[in-house]
Symmetry: C2
Subunit: 318 residues, 2 copies
């Protein structure tokens, strides 16, 4: 049962970990957002890839959702003495990740190759696929001017209202062959409960990816998304406010509207059971499940619930 | 009283710290070996500059002589998981130094500018001057083949016998203007008790530096060296074995012979008082002092003893 998951940061990483728990090694491919990649101290930083990498390696900091469990902060203190910016909170192990990735990239490898090497090194049994090897950067037009994603997300603490979102480089950026193959070969395509605008948006903004998902759907591959909005609110991050300020409805229905045309199933939380009819009116099937993932077990439960949706073939094949 | 010190790693850093304690801020310039500079994880690493930097900033690890006091090792453990080499023991704060230096260099600044920025940031009141901004790398021909300096020094633990020493890039490498000015403007030139072959050797191998020292001597600037060899042994490092395997005498006298022609005074330890006559036969004055520097006070004592040698003008001018 090959599952391909489109994911951003924390929510996507949790569901990826759920699938990894219930699938066989190698069955899960995670296509990860690169729109919030940045450079820090001259190093290449891929925050969403790192969150997925650490989570699938069992190394993630469970409290923060980002960074490495048990990390220390010695390098950051020294970087502060050298007058480097420290608003992007990089722990020592996390810094090692950025150093390692930058080292591999400088030796001429792609971000895809670097990620694969690093995931293998950390013992991750799933494939972590950057959506693109090309430069693709989310830019937010806010009440305080145009901001790069991390500048908005971390430095400004998601305070400014977002009035428009653009993806710098999206005209030229292409998905990798590995990404297109993962969509083509999937038995099930899932969009994780990640921010639809800035976590999934940059990936879907690449025309070849959107088309590949449409083609896969026409060929019969079930396509399922899980709402990141529950009872009008994002569990984490600014998705709810961002949906509203961009003119969407801050609800599971608002998210379903964004994905209309590329989805067969939409999973909404028990808190949103009343929205089933409106979601189905968009041309997809709506199902109600418990979608909050407090622990490893709930991650696996949600993954299993999604697999069960599309035929229950998994439990019998295992 | 402007003092310019030629230094390598630990011994040089200690004497630099001694001078910094007894001179006014800005009076000390340290010309630091770049022959053991290397690249690690794609980052620019300057081990001797770092040792001098940390020592003069009061941040050095007193036990090891290298690295930062109280450093942690989280990044190195993560780099090991990523299969990076870890024989060069980089602590987290030390990694921050390499990241910061590399960042400044990638933005187009010189090693001299990067070093000055970092020294200022750490509150160092002395000037730390890389001998050159150009690539100059010590290469050792050993019984186990040709080795880059750190490969010999750290990775192989100085085990292989050294049969020849070369400085890759020395034909093209030029000292910086700051280095030549520091020699020209000095009231006193000192060669630290560093390895004469691989710590001082690369700096003196640049013709312009050797000539500047000769010109300064002709103009009356006193030139003093302190023997790094005491009773035939190096306090630290492989200088004694290296002198022997390269055909020199492993003694203060052997070191004095290497510096003959560019020295006015040679300071030897009390343990080597019997060598005074032989050293003076080389055309320099030999003086016996306590040269071992166990603590900050002994560093200052040795610096004061050197200043006193050349006229005692310092105590009256302060």
């Amino acid at each position: 049962m090959k599952v391909t998951l489109l994911a951003g940061g924390v929510g996507g990483a949790k569901l990826a970990h759920g699938f990894q728990q219930v699938l066989d090694p190698g069955e899960l491919s995670v296509i990860v957002n690169v729109g919030d990649d940045t450079e820090l101290y001259g190093l290449a930083v891929s925050p969403d890839i790192d969150t997925v990498l650490y989570t699938l390696a069992g190394a993630a900091n469970a409290e923060t959702g980002w960074g490495v469990a048990g990390d220390t902060w010695t390098a950051l203190a020294m970087l502060a003495r050298y007058h480097e910016e420290t608003w992007f909170r990089v722990g020592d192990a996390d810094l090692a990740t950025h150093v390692r990735r930058s080292h591999i990239l400088r030796d001429g490898a792609s971000l895809t190759d670097a990620t694969a090497q690093m995931a293998t090194a950390l013992g991750v049994p799933s494939r972590i696929l950057p959506a693109s090897n090309d430069r693709l950067r989310t830019i937010l037009a806010t009440d305080e001017g145009e901001l790069a994603f991390q500048d908005y997300f971390v430095r400004r603490g998601q305070e400014p209202e977002v009035r428009a979102v653009g993806f710098d480089g999206v005209e030229a950026a292409r998905p990798t062959q590995q990404v297109l193959a993962a969509i083509h070969e999937a038995d099930l395509l899932v969009i994780a409960p990640s921010n639809p605008i800035v976590s999934i948006g940059p990936t879907l903004a690449m025309r070849d990816i959107r088309e590949a998902i449409i083609v896969a759907g026409e060929a019969g591959t079930p396509r399922v998304a899980v709402s990141p909005i529950i009872a009008g609110r994002a569990l984490k991050g600014p998705a709810d406010r961002m949906l509203a300020s961009l003119g969407h409805e801050s609800s599971a229905l608002g998210v379903a509207r964004i994905y209309a045309g590329i989805l067969d199933w939409f999973v909404i939380d028990e808190a949103d059971a009343a929205l089933v009819h409106d979601v189905e009116a968009l041309g997809m099937r709506a199902v109600v499940r418990q979608t909050v993932m407090h622990d490893d077990q709930e991650r696996a439960h949600l993954a299993t619930a999604i697999l069960d949706l599309v035929g229950g073939a998994v439990s019998s094949s295992r």
